[in-house]
Symmetry: C2
Subunit: 164 residues, 2 copies
């Protein structure tokens, strides 16, 4: 199998596990993982993984991708450039910016139907963006948005229009 196939399996299964762990604790079900594939002798390795912590930690910054970067700790700039980041949901502007800051060259997204982030900005700056349209990611997020619209809007900075 190619490096990407192995890395994609490892990365997306870890991200989905993170999303489910978050939901179990009452949180927003978005998970992420960063997989380093710069050492062919060792194969793909998870540098870090995490999930949205808005509800669990009252955090405005710990989206899935930011939590995964946090969990990876301090890395040399070269490590990010040989990694892929996996996320169950299309990355928002903040997470897009973090991917650009660290020049992560490849982003694999579970789904973009419930929310579509700044994918065009990523592509315009040369990042490879793969959208899987994974049904498990879609259903996890759909259930949360339907049952917790207020928390979801808060997470993406959306104000809710008053009913007309």
């Amino acid at each position: 199998m190619s490096v990407n196939v192995l890395s994609d399996h490892l990365g997306m299964s870890t991200a989905i596990l993170e999303a489910k762990q978050s939901r179990k604790k009452g949180g927003i079900p978005i998970g992420s993982a960063i997989v380093y594939h710069g050492d062919s002798a060792v194969g793909p390795q998870v540098l870090g993984s995490g999930h949205n912590q808005r509800i669990q930690k009252s955090s405005a910054i710990l989206h899935g991708e930011i939590a995964a970067l946090d969990s990876a700790g301090r890395q040399k700039p070269e490590a990010y450039r040989n990694s892929t980041i996996y996320t169950t949901l299309s990355p928002c502007s903040m997470c897009t910016g973090a991917i650009l800051l660290y020049r992560i060259p490849r982003v694999v997204i579970g789904e973009s139907r419930n929310f579509r982030g700044d994918e065009d900005l990523l592509r315009s700056r040369g990042v490879e963006v793969v959208v899987l349209d994974n049904n498990e990611c879609y259903e996890l997020m759909k259930e949360f948005i339907e049952t917790h619209p207020e928390e979801w809007n808060e997470d993406i900075g959306e104000t809710v229009a008053p009913p007309s």
Copy 2:
């Protein structure tokens, strides 16, 4: 005095204090503050402030602006839309993305000479960007970059070219 003048004094002095506190602890001297000015009866209020924590907390995500957002905790989307964010140094792509996520409409930057972030992206999305070219911010950052080039490059995801 106008709301902006009061808010700017409060916000930038808080951001500079944060940057100096970071430097005293051996950290990267970048500070930030978020000032809410949506309540004219009360006047400008600091929602949160923070500084870069790469060295102190081995953090890849706690840039000044992200630390300030973190310190503000969970806020209603409306709060950010009536706030200004202050930062001693031009915001990187990640911090730019965070400002866009929360639709903070105004960014006041201490200086952009040592590092120029994604100011053009902010402006292109309708954010008001004010660059003060404050000499205290400039000197604080210049000293750090000169004495800690490796940590600085790590903070902005830069690889260092091998000597030619």
